[in-house]
Every structure is written in C-alpha cells, then in structure tokens.
Symmetry: C2
Subunit: 229 residues, 2 copies
C-alpha cells in the first residue's frame, strides 16, 4: 500500500509541481487548499483542475477567515504592485505577504495528516524566487518540522516523526518549470497571478506574473499561461 502525503495545493505553478513531485516519490496524495478570502478566488478552480489531473485521492478545500487580520494586498484591498523590476521585488517583504500564511496552512495540513495517519506533508515553497517572504526560508521549515513532531499524537506515542517536504526550495523558477514539464504537469491549468480576471486570466504585470514569465523564458519552455491581453 502507498503511503499517504498531504500536499498543499494553491493552484499555482509551484504547488502543482510539488504535487507532481510527491506523486513521483510514490505517495498517494491528499490535497488541501484554502478559501481564505483571497482576491484571486479563481485560483481555487485552478487547484481543482490540478488535483483532478494529478489524480489526488481527495481534495479538501478548507474555509478560513484571514480577512479579520487584514494587512496584505492579497486580502485587504491594497493595490497589487505592477511591473516592478526584479531587484525591487527581492529587496524586502512585499505588500502581497500575508501574515503567517504558511504557518497557518501548514497547521491545517498537520491536522489533516494526523486524521489521515500521514507522516509526510509537501509544500511548494521556494527560497530563491520567494520575493522576501519570511515563511519560505529553509530555517523556518526546519523549525516548523521540529515543532510539528511534538504537536501531535504521533509525537507523544513515539511513531515516525512528521516530515515537511519542500522539493522546490532550492530551485529557480526556470528549474521548477523544467521539473513540472518533466513530470507531465500541464502548466496551462495552473494560475499564479495575484490579480487575475474573474475568469482566471493572468494580468501579466504583478510580481508573480513577471517571475513566471521570466521562468518560462529562462527554461526555454513556451509560456502556456492564459493572459488577459
């Protein structure tokens, strides 16, 4: 019998590739997405396409209310920055940072893992093109893993510890795209844009679109993204 892994799937390029990596590593995958009041709700449709195409055992969409905390362009109605040079993107924590988002997402994944008896969680964080998000750094993930090992029934009962897998953490966007293509991910089904049209067409100008475009160009892979223009 295959071991089960919990995979955080946002519907973007990175999480789709992390899901494909979990499958390639032999896991049966349970996908977890969040409806957290994000302005780009069409990414949940992308998440459904991706989890269906990559044959997840199940796909849970958990509704959580992050808007009460405000503080981010992705949830609080602050304008998403457009056409920023790459140097500026990596110069600090951007307004698109959602406070403690990965910590919250991983905590739900931990609960889900405990219920499923899974000991493996996959998350598509990336420390290179991470645009200054503190909760994408390797030292953060290691500290999370250590905490998670103490947080649950498995931690008390001395079972195998929980592992947080970050297959993309040291990859460039170009390497992620090449990995996705190699693992058979249909990238046209994914959505990375911070400010898409209601139908899910990408704006082509936010930080996420610019990094993704650059990644396709550097990977030498035709850009299958559906743009608004």
């Amino acid at each position: 019998m295959q071991n089960i892994a919990i995979v955080l799937v946002s519907g973007g390029l990175d999480s789709a590739t992390a899901l494909a990596a979990a499958r390639a590593a032999g896991f049966a995958c349970c996908a977890l997405s969040f409806d957290y009041g994000q302005r780009h709700a069409s990414e949940l449709q992308a998440a459904r396409r991706v989890t269906a195409a990559l044959q997840c055992l199940e796909h849970v969409v958990s509704r959580i209310d992050l808007r009460v905390f405000g503080g981010s362009a992705l949830t609080a109605g602050i304008p998403v920055p457009k056409d920023r040079p790459t140097a500026e993107m990596s110069a600090g924590i951007p307004v698109t940072y959602v406070p403690a988002r990965n910590t919250i997402f991983l905590s739900f994944a931990l609960a889900y893992a405990e219920v499923k008896g899974a000991r493996d969680i996959f998350i598509g964080v990336n420390a290179l093109d991470y645009s200054g998000y503190p909760d994408c750094r390797p030292e953060y993930i290691q500290a999370y893993e250590r905490m998670a090992g103490l947080a649950t029934r498995a931690g008390v009962e001395g079972n195998a510890p929980l592992r947080i897998h970050t297959p993309l953490i040291a990859m460039t966007k170009a390497q992620i795209i090449q990995t996705a293509v190699r693992l058979g991910v249909d990238l046209s089904q994914t959505q990375s844009c911070y400010d898409p049209s209601p139908e899910g067409l990408a704006c082509g100008h936010c930080d996420s679109c610019l990094l993704r475009k650059k990644g396709f160009a550097e990977a030498g892979v035709p850009d299958s993204t559906r743009y608004r223009q």
Copy 2:
C-alpha cells in the same frame, strides 16, 4: 504606552486566568477566539463575557472550519466520555483531543500579533491537568516559539523575538483557581464543560467538569459553576 499582547480566550477557566495574568503583567490585551464548529458553541458567549469583564482592547472571533478533519469528540459527533476516574483521564490521549488544535490556534494568534505589532502571545495551556494533550507540553511550546520567531516579518527584520507566554503551564487546577480569584476573575462567567446545555449550563460529568470540580474543592473556593442539575 502599554505593549499589546494577543491572548487566546476560549471562555474557559484556564484562558480567562491567562488573560487576567496578561493584564496583571501590564499588557493591553487583544483577545482571539475561534468559532470552529465546536459542539459547545455557548463557550463563545462565555468568551465574550470574559473579554468584556477583563477590558480587552478588542476581541476577534475567527471562524475556521475544523470539521472537515473530523477525528474528535468535540467536533465530530463522537459521544463525550462521562464520569471517568482521574487516573483513566491521564492514561492517554482522550477522544476530546482535536488534532493540531493549539498549533492552528497559535498560528492565527501569530498572524494577529504581526498585524498588531505585538510580540507577546498568551495561551492558557497546562501540562499537569492536560489530560494527555500533546500540544500542551512545555517542549511543544518552546518549539513553537522558536518556529514563530522565524515565521514572520519580525523574524526577518531582526526585531525582538516573539514570546509565547504560558502562565498556567505548571499549575494544578486548584492553583489556577486560586490565581483567578486573586486576580479578580469572576469564574461564574467562564465555561469549561465539553457537553453543556444550549444555555451554557455545565454537565458536571465530562473530564473537564470533573477536573474543574476537583480544582474548586482542592483550592477551598466555593464552586460558582452553573450546573445543569
């Protein structure tokens, strides 16, 4: 100006005492409660009474959907055990354990702290009368604090690290009750029962009621709990 602390307030005896301890330590308190599909929803009314009486700056109730994960008598419709001897309660992880609950709650507190610029979080966990919950142990809290210090903007920008305060962690229930009385908490406003009536009257027989009753008796404090019978 007073520093702000985020305090997790369930409406029970322990969290009300933790809130009073945060106030006594000089913090201006922002309270955080969760509507997570718990069967004892009347505890949210207790939380509102407690945060009003203890003059919180604000009280946020965040709605989160834990029921998708099932797995606990508090959320999944499994019967709450009644009239168990204390020895049996502490012999393992009970069915009232909610997978990764404190991890999820602390993660929301972390987001709230970041938005408020707070560096202090209070949680009323207790390692003595904790009935076998893995996420009430000191080593878990320490690991969480370490992770939290790396998870946020403050972690990147080198500000003061985040602290998780657990003023009750080494107290018996009797000591918690004595502390609450000393700090002026009106314990009749709190609700600890796992299986209360819709009006919030305590059953008197679940693990939580039994521990609370025993605590009042050992503290030599008249039990002000409103029981069903």
